[in-house]
Symmetry: C2
Subunit: 257 residues, 2 copies
DNA sequence: GTGTGGGACTTGTCATCACATGTTCGATCG
DNA sequence: CGATCGAACATGTGATGACAAGTCCCACAC
């Protein structure tokens, strides 16, 4: 027992509390869109803190695109971005629940095999290295929504063999095994449904699908998961915000071929 | 002449200089991927500054996904994110140039008409309000890449009638008219090519296209542009990064219908 | 009525100090 | 020789003080 504090109840720091409170006020309309955010000194008084935490909290809201402003003028609320934590973004199950939908899944296969060419490149593996592949059909309200082809590096994927992958979220299971995913990179394009997609999603071959290819890394920066997810259009969309203040979240690329 | 400092050469602040220097060292290999970033106190000595600017600079690099680390350990370089400013992201022309491709365009129509239902909703307009619609085919290296259907609110779009939209970037032109776009929200899905898409892109009707619907706002938060861009798959992809530190840049949505 | 100060206010930036908490690594003990 | 403990070091968080630079608004002159 090296740690007397269970990982769940770390006290939130001051700037987190201030940010939470402002987000709540924006979400429930006490700070409507267009309203002026209280000045820094005002917030210092309200929360009885110094300017440091207040500025840190405002900086967070600014990076999220919720507030905007310039030097000399108090920031204004420019939009209430529907917040979605990385956890709820990576976990289809948790995301579906928070969206008021019933998630479901049908695991087609869990296999240990040599890594595919795409995954090998982004995971930094050799073509002779082994990975754990998972092929799942994901459901929303009992209707097919997405086909998921995921490759895990071996020392992460080994946790999946003692796990009933029809029972819930792989993400949550890995987290309980001590694997914490901390960053993800997503690439979007459109592809026609192949025969597997078509059969699982119950559409015709060639139907347009939205493809999200994802590389997920640990906090140490090591990529451990590569996924090729194909969504039925109309069932799910992805939304991204970017501002001049945080310009690097989205980039457009020409693939190399 | 109220301002003695021309807007072009504002002296860069300390944290900007530090961030620039670190980015340069990462870009040219002096700090390769996997290397440990100098500790904060070390950077304080090197630049002869206090911890504030150093932390601000590191925080910026962290938000960009270039470095990663946790409390107690020095950060490590995890990747050199291809930087793409909002300017170069919004402007197809500028983006293509920076990617080493030759941009081109063929304007099909520029028209003033009543706003469409989709655009009206996100631009906050009434269905009887007028907008300026632009329909353009965009080329990369003289081959069709994207069909762009854009609606501008009237007081922005009026600048487009005295502009040869085949000659270059609307974004640059608007900027010269004093219209500064500061934030954008993008929604991605996949759609089959309709007859207009098919004719312009020279593909068959029903071919999968990657659709980006975009709402662009001024720094004051007023949405002024709505665009429905349809990309030929394989020619262009979009990539998004998110981390636990900046989790809100991407969200997944179920459309309402 | 209109235009122009100018002062009060606000944010941006930076220094310095202090403490809590997590990491790393070598010395030491078994 | 390996496991373990602890000191040194690193980052996270926060308080306080200071000045520069931009914005806002009202009083005042024309």
């Amino acid at each position: 027992m090296t740690s007397p504090t269970p990982s769940g109840d770390r006290p939130r720091s001051l700037h987190q509390k201030i940010g939470d409170e402002l987000r709540a006020q924006i979400a429930d309309g006490r700070l409507p869109i267009g309203a002026a955010v209280p000045s820094e000194s005002e917030l210092c008084r309200q929360f009885s803190v110094s300017r440091g935490p207040v500025r840190q909290a405002l900086s967070g809201l600014r990076a999220e695109g919720i507030i905007a402003g310039s030097q000399g003028a108090t920031a204004r609320v420019v939009g209430s971005v529907p917040t979605q934590s990385l956890t709820s973004f990576l976990s289809f199950t948790e995301w579906a629940h928070s969206s008021g939908r019933q998630p479901g899944q049908h695991t087609v296969e869990v296999a240990k095999r040599t890594v595919g060419a795409d995954a090998a490149g982004v995971l930094g593996l050799d073509l002779s290295d082994l990975v754990v592949d998972v092929l799942r059909l994901r459901l929303l309200d009992e209707e097919p929504a997405m086909v998921e082809r995921t490759s895990f590096v071996l020392d992460v994927g080994r946790h999946l063999f003692d796990f009933d992958s029809d029972s819930g979220s792989i993400f949550v299971h890995l987290s309980s095994c001590g694997v914490e995913l901390a960053a993800a990179r997503h690439t979007f394009d459109a592809v026609p449904a192949d025969d597997v997609d078509a059969r699982l999603l119950d559409v015709e071959i060639g139907t347009p699908l939205l493809r999200e290819r994802r590389v997920t890394s640990t906090s140490a920066g090591r990529p451990v998961e590569y996924s090729d997810d194909r969504y039925l259009p109309g069932r799910v969309t992805f939304t991204v915000s970017n501002t001049v203040a945080a310009p690097h979240s989205v980039i457009r690329l020409v693939p190399d071929d």
